[in-house]
């Protein structure tokens, strides 16, 4: 498998970049933010994402999706990283869609076509504490009557405030189980959390929430594998978004270096800045390769795909962090203003870094996999 895009994948990339540049450039994010939009995300745009075939990129054709793979999902995620667009793509199109692919025929038929069409938003509720730690989930689902009773608190639930359905990861007797939960069910409390980057998540509190047995996705106590598969695709796509955001911040900065004058010179003529830009370029190339490697590993069903994903998420995260720091610093004072876009990239990268495990989380996985 090659680490560069095929012709078809390049066409998808051009389509996604083109669509977002026209319909959801950074101005779209600013508008949602400045108008204090009630949802913080555009349902209309999500619908258009469905029509373009982006929303259902990993959903099988029989359910109205494009039936493509991780690399294609990464292409869309990278494009979203470049324009900073708030979109249910990560939460619904990547994470929830992947979980639901392991669900019953009824569950698949109920939700996958609607996600693919950009009609439904389904949020995955995994995290509980300040940091991503799926191995420390404390939300409990006790058997009760014909079904289960859920108790616990979730956070960083992407689009949770506008979700048509929630997928909740909870402990059952002998393992982890994934449940489809109606956000309007009794005992579900949802608090929208506007984040630093003006994207949205929610805190979800579950108090004696009753669900039927058919709300279980996959097998009771068998949710871990299903969840891990979804998280890994999500992490690889987050790495792609980080690469996109980091690279876009870098491109904006390069343009500034080529046009801004001080001391009668273009500041890009100064070697102090040239070397930092060249270093950053190298890092971004490495991050891009790592991301492509992870997406490929998932598509190939490789045994070590989880490790490849950790390499990508850790590397792309650290590199994007460097890219946005350099972007603000090289822009100087104007980099600190709300009017210039580079600050928005810095905020978005902070969120993407925290999403689904930061560099430390993934480097820990690397250390364990190598036995030290």
């Amino acid at each position: 498998m090659s680490l560069i895009l095929t012709e078809e994948q390049t066409m998808l990339k051009e389509a996604a970049d083109g669509f977002l540049a026209e319909n959801a450039p950074i101005a779209h994010l600013r508008k949602l933010r400045d108008s204090k939009d009630a949802d913080g995300v555009s349902r209309e745009l999500w619908k258009a994402f469905g029509e373009m075939g982006f929303a259902g990129v990993v959903i099988p054709e029989e359910h109205g999706g494009s039936g493509l793979g991780a690399v294609e999902a990464g292409v869309v995620a990278e494009a979203l990283g470049r324009t900073l667009t708030p979109s249910p793509f990560m939460g619904s199109g990547v994470l929830s869609a992947t979980v639901l692919k392991g669900g019953s025929a009824e569950q698949q038929a109920a939700w996958l076509p609607r996600i693919a069409a950009g009609e439904a938003i389904v949020s995955l509720a995994v995290d509980e504490g300040a940091k991503h730690a799926p191995e420390r989930i404390a939300t409990v689902a006790e058997r009760s009557g014909n079904g289960f009773k859920l108790n616990g608190a979730k956070g960083f639930v992407l689009d949770g405030h506008v979700a048509d359905a929630l997928i909740v990861a909870a402990l059952t007797e002998n393992g982890l189980t994934l449940f489809l939960v109606d956000p309007k069910a009794a005992g579900v409390e949802i608090e929208r959390t506007v984040m630093v980057d003006a994207h949205n998540a929610a805190r979800v509190t579950l108090t004696d929430v009753m669900v039927d047995a058919d709300a279980v996705i996959g097998a009771v106590d068998g949710g871990e594998g299903l969840l891990e598969g979804a998280l890994n695709l999500g992490r690889a796509c987050a790495a792609a978004s980080l690469t996109g955001a980091g690279d876009q911040a870098f491109q904006i900065t390069l343009e500034y270096l080529r046009t801004r004058k001080q001391f009668g010179k273009l500041i890009g003529e100064f070697q102090a800045l040239q070397h930092r830009a060249a270093h950053l370029f190298s890092e971004i190339e490495i991050a891009r390769a790592a991301t492509m490697g992870a997406l490929n590993a998932i598509d190939a069903g490789r045994e070590d795909a989880g490790l490849a994903v950790s390499v990508a998420k850790a590397k792309a995260g650290r590199v994007a962090e460097l890219a946005v720091q350099e972007a603000v610093q090289m822009h100087g004072g104007v980099g600190m203003t709300d009017e210039f876009d580079v600050g928005l990239f810095m905020k978005r990268v902070r969120v993407l870094n925290e999403l689904l495990g930061d560099a430390g989380f993934h480097q820990e996985r690397m250390a364990r996999s190598q036995g030290f």
């Binding site: 560069i4 003529e269 190298s282 190339e285 991050a287 490849a308 850790a314 030290f372």
Partner: protein, 394 residues
């Protein structure tokens, strides 16, 4: 089975049958590797056999054309071969500046006679090359080189001095940059020539480095006769050949950052320092630094592979080699700093048998040259700024 799967199965079977047991596992130091040449030295008879068998198949240069002795493999087949070699932890069958540096330049710029004459010998490991580039007054400013070649009709007479010539004292031939036009602008008066190191007037003197080893030499030319048929490419346009070759050299040095040693660094550290009941290294700070390096290393390995894919697809910018060289050499230096930290006081021993005569420390010191040789890190950053980023005035 697909063709590629068939190829993998056949390759695996051939390697199982043909790679001697002593050529599997850790390969030892740079000097212990198989370098070939007229006066080749092999650690064991098995190592000689390994080079000869791989050379006969052309798999020491897997992607070179069969007509010049190469393996004629496609990019995908070459990846399969590399992964099968890794699977059995095979040591390289041949380390060769001929394969890494001169060969690609000859394939691009050489005459048909030169390709037919030199390439098959290179593939089989019968000829060992050294590189005559740097001079005492021409380091980072390589194009300022002064070694001159005086036109004598059918031949040149070469006078001057080279420095940092890797293994000049062990090489059979040299590929060398000489000034053939002293009046022209410095980049436009250089030619790329080949000659035998046994020619009268060539002498070498090893340079002792901080590692205590002498992989580099000073090389002196005193009225050395060089035949005109051994000019590669166009007269006075040797800089084009030199740059093309440098891109390959830089990729090679960068690839040193791609360590596939038998024992992961984290395990070397736990052997040395100890681990807790969960197997975690008993030095949390070092453990974090190693994990970070391993992530960078794995990512860099993919970057090397990706650039290879870009080259095959005709999408690679020639200057991308500078990125690989810069990143890989800095990565390799970091790895050896951590190896020293992992070894602690034990890694400081310089003479004991126990320490393999300071093996770790000498390797650590050797890596400091990685970001100098083949163009310093700063030169690579200049090239990236100019050619890949088009920054003004770069």
């Amino acid at each position: 089975m697909t063709d590629l799967e068939t190829f993998r199965a056949e390759t695996r079977a051939w390697l199982e049958a043909n790679c001697p047991a002593e050529c599997r596992g850790p390969g030892g130091s740079e000097e212990d590797a198989i370098w070939g040449g007229r006066n080749a030295v092999f650690r064991t008879p098995g190592h000689k056999l390994w080079m000869e068998r791989m050379g006969a198949k052309g798999w020491t240069a897997p992607e070179w054309p069969v007509e010049y002795g190469g393996g004629g493999l496609t990019r995908e087949e070459a990846k399969v071969l590399a992964s099968e070699l890794r699977r059995i932890k095979a040591q390289p069958a041949l380390n060769s500046f001929g394969i890494w540096m001169l060969g690609p330049a000859l394939l691009q710029f050489g005459s048909e006679e030169q390709k037919k004459r030199f390439l098959p010998e290179i593939v089989r490991g019968e000829i060992r090359w050294c590189q005559g580039y740097s001079e005492p007054g021409a380091g980072s400013d390589l194009a300022g080189l002064q070694t001159r070649a005086e036109d004598k009709g059918d031949h040149w007479i070469v006078n001057g001095q080279k420095v940092w010539t890797s293994y000049a004292d062990k090489a059979d031939w040299i590929f060398c940059l000489v000034r053939t036009d002293a009046e022209a602008p410095k980049h436009l008066g250089i030619s790329f020539v080949l000659f035998d190191m046994a020619t009268r007037g060539v002498s070498t003197k090893p340079i002792t480095l901080i590692s205590g080893k002498s992989p580099f030499c000073e090389t002196f030319f005193d009225d050395v006769r060089v035949e005109k048929e051994n000019l590669v490419g166009t007269l006075n346009r040797g800089w084009d050949v030199a740059k093309y070759l440098l891109a390959h050299e830089r990729t090679m040095i960068g690839a040193m950052g791609e360590v596939r040693s038998a024992r992961p660094l984290g395990q070397v550290a736990t052997d040395s320092i100890g681990a807790d009941e969960e197997g975690r290294l008993d030095d949390a700070m070092l453990r974090a630094r190693i994990a970070e390096l391993e992530v960078d290393g794995a990512a860099f390995r993919l970057a090397l592979e990706r650039v290879g894919d870009q080259v095959k697809a005709g999408q690679a910018h020639p200057a991308i080699a500078s990125m690989l060289k810069y990143y890989g050499s800095e990565l390799n230096k970091r790895r050896h700093e951590l190896l020293m930290a992992a070894g602690g006081a034990d890694a400081l021993e310089w003479e004991s048998e126990r320490s393999n005569h300071g093996g770790a420390a000498r390797d650590w010191l050797r890596t400091k040259a990685n970001s100098i040789e083949g163009g310093t890190s700063e030169i690579q950053l200049n090239i990236i700024a100019k050619h890949l980023l088009q920054l003004p005035g770069a």
